[in-house]
Amino acid sequence: MTAPTKAKAVPRAELKGDLAVLKEKFGDAVQPAEYEGVVIANDVLLEAARFIRDELGYRYLSSLTAVDYIQEGYFEVVYHAYRLEGGGPLVFKARTPRDVATVPSLVSVWPGADFQEREAWDLMGIRFAGHPNLKRILLWEGFHGHPLRKDWKEPYYEEEHKPFSSRWPSGHHIRAEDRVFWHDNVQYPLDWDPDQVEDTSDELLYIGMGQFARAETGELVEPKSLRTERLVVNMGPQHPSTHGVFRMVVTLDGETIVRLEPVMGYLHRNHEKIGERNMYLQNMPYTDRLDYICSMSNNLGYAIAVEKLLGIRPPERAEYLRVIMAEFTRIVNHLWAIGFLLNDLGAFFTPALYAIEERELILDLFEEAAGSRMMCNYMRFGGVAHDVSDDWIARAKELVYNRLPRAIEELDRYLTHNELIKARCQGVGVLPPDLAVAYSTAGPVLRASGIPYDVRRAEPYSIYDRFDFDVAVRYNGDVYDRYLIRIDEMWQSLRILRQALDQIPKGEIQAGKKQYMIRVPAGQAYGRVENPKGELGFYIVSDGSPNPYRYHIRAPSFINLTALNEMCKGHKVADVVVILGSIDIVLGEVDR
């Protein structure tokens, strides 16, 4: 954090409740952290994590991320764990000096930490001792440096923070690539030689999958010890079933999958680095581009996280508008997910187009309210951007009361009892409940495995505590249940929408004056919302300046993929396509 925070004493977290228990158990190894949570010494971290999971009952590790405190000279890894019964997080942190940059891996306690630790290694350069597969995940192995470190600068680097001073008052246009010597968006370290570069990504991948070993000559050969008939097949990155540029490397025994490893990052743009250069408000339209099907609820998650730091709440009407938009988004997303699941099953585009028809009608409403169909940029801190007319509400009601119930009912009649769908989906890609929790899966994937965990109920945000709705849950954890749960959730969303549209009051839509350069009090906040694809979290560290010091996104699609290998084992290649479809990922969010 920057200097002024030192001068003013930073408040330490009070150790109450479970934190006090933790302190009592581990004594000096547990110290109160700044603002919230505790710092746990690295040598007891694993033991403490087990204690937190088993004794204190925080079985669900929601988020794991790292912050670079460059002035203080250490990295901090931040963990947010939750109880499945609901309630707030237990925040604990681990620290490591910047030149050591190693903390124990928690994959053995929470397998869901796997991808998140790899992400922290990739982007922040923190090694996780004991991680079974610590490779880069979003970037390639030859990448120079770890971009989220505060001293790393991107090729188009201009200034530490926006707004850039070159834009005004003497803003002579210059194209970004013209500022770079190569007239291209690349940056090479001085001693870099393209002939020497070695991209070991694939090699590491294949060795990790037990397929090859390195001979003394340096070549990759099949391991001598066992002669197998195993085969490595690459699906993607260009593959119609992968919902974008996404690659799955599968080891096959005959036609059966032995192991699958997802490879991602083809759409990576380091959203978080961009976010740390931006001012707070400027991040809002960028969140639209995470899960671009659900821009409204992404906006909501970010607004809630920043409002936590600001300590403000939007006026009533704005709260209702937010809920209305977020629930419409859920319907949009689930229609899309079901339509494309059917595509993956081979029912080429007829079901998808029937589903998208309804989506278009909802997008019409979004366009009128927000100005854009997909990149809505609708929420502001302490409110929403535009009010809606009575006519808008009337049309929304027409949809919610008449059109959508009929459409969902028709989709149900069209697909649910279809014998082919049942044959392809039932018992496929099963994820048992304990694994679903251990892998930190969220949203429909978690709830289809019999865990009724929904942030709207577990830790209500906005005004969700006022509405009557049920948390949908299904128990088989297979593809079929992940399909059914989306239908169930659409019905529940309609219930919420009916109540919200009937009760919405007149009045203001923005608390206070709308500002473009807000100053957020120094602090840390984790805001999370139940996005259609699962729990979307924003971890924000503010140092009191107009730009976030750290801006991290817990992307549900990304973390849900941790369980993909587990779901696919023992199935056939054709099933992988369906299983991936049932997780419902969006690469804009996975790759960030």
Partner: protein
């Protein structure tokens, strides 16, 4: 349960969609055909059945007032001047920083004057977020409705300079009727306020 009943039921849904498209055709037959512009709202409305597609570019969906695409600068046709005062707020708030403004200077005094000397928006970078229009204190920059901007070249033709950005306020009034009405009302109120002040001044 008979095996295959689910499939048959599902096919029934497809058949229904198929038949509806013809029923609708017959219905529109007596009203000049499906592709009359006046039918567009009904065909795209919440009661639409059958074929749901729009024949773009022959047909275009009407755009709501809030619709936003690359901004333009408003030219005040009554007072014959550019409304922008080159205050720089839009350049600061722009998330991808795609606005470049050269503040005007008065050649006789060398002091800044409230009119931009140059104004660029790099349309290849603009994310059409609408913040510039939202936060401009002078109603000088507005979001456009023209989304057909494809070009054969991505450098010069997509770097919008001042002449290309300027559009008359009559155009703004036409695409943003309620926003324009608000502006007029605010102007009126200000005038009335000034008049009141002046009146108070003379009476005092």
């Amino acid at each position: 349960m008979i095996y295959g009943l689910g499939i048959l039921k599902g096919l029934g849904v497809t058949l229904k969609h198929f038949i509806y498209s013809y029923i609708e055709d017959v219905r529109y037959l007596f009203e000049g055909g499906r592709y009359q512009p006046r039918h567009l709202p009904a065909r795209q409305g919440p009661r639409a059945r059958g074929v749901f597609t729009v024949q773009y570019p022959k047909e275009k969906l009407p755009l709501p007032e809030n619709f936003r695409y690359i901004p333009f600068l408003v030219y005040d046709t009554q007072e014959n001047k550019i409304k922008c005062t080159s205050c720089g707020i839009c350049a600061k708030v722009c998330p991808p920083q795609c606005i470049w403004i050269v503040r005007g200077t008065d050649p006789s005094t060398g002091r800044p004057k409230p009119e931009p000397e140059a104004f660029y928006i790099d349309a290849t970078i603009c994310m059409s977020c609408g913040f510039c229009a939202e936060f401009c204190p002078f109603d000088a920059i507005k979001m456009d409705h023209n989304y057909e901007l494809s070009s054969y070249e991505r450098y010069e033709s997509l770097l919008f300079d001042l002449p290309r950005l300027l559009k008359p306020d009559t155009y703004h009034a036409q695409i943003h009727p309620s926003d324009w009405a608000r502006e007029l009302a605010e102007k009126e109120a200000e005038k009335a306020k000034k008049g009141e002040k002046a009146a108070a001044h003379t009476s005092a």
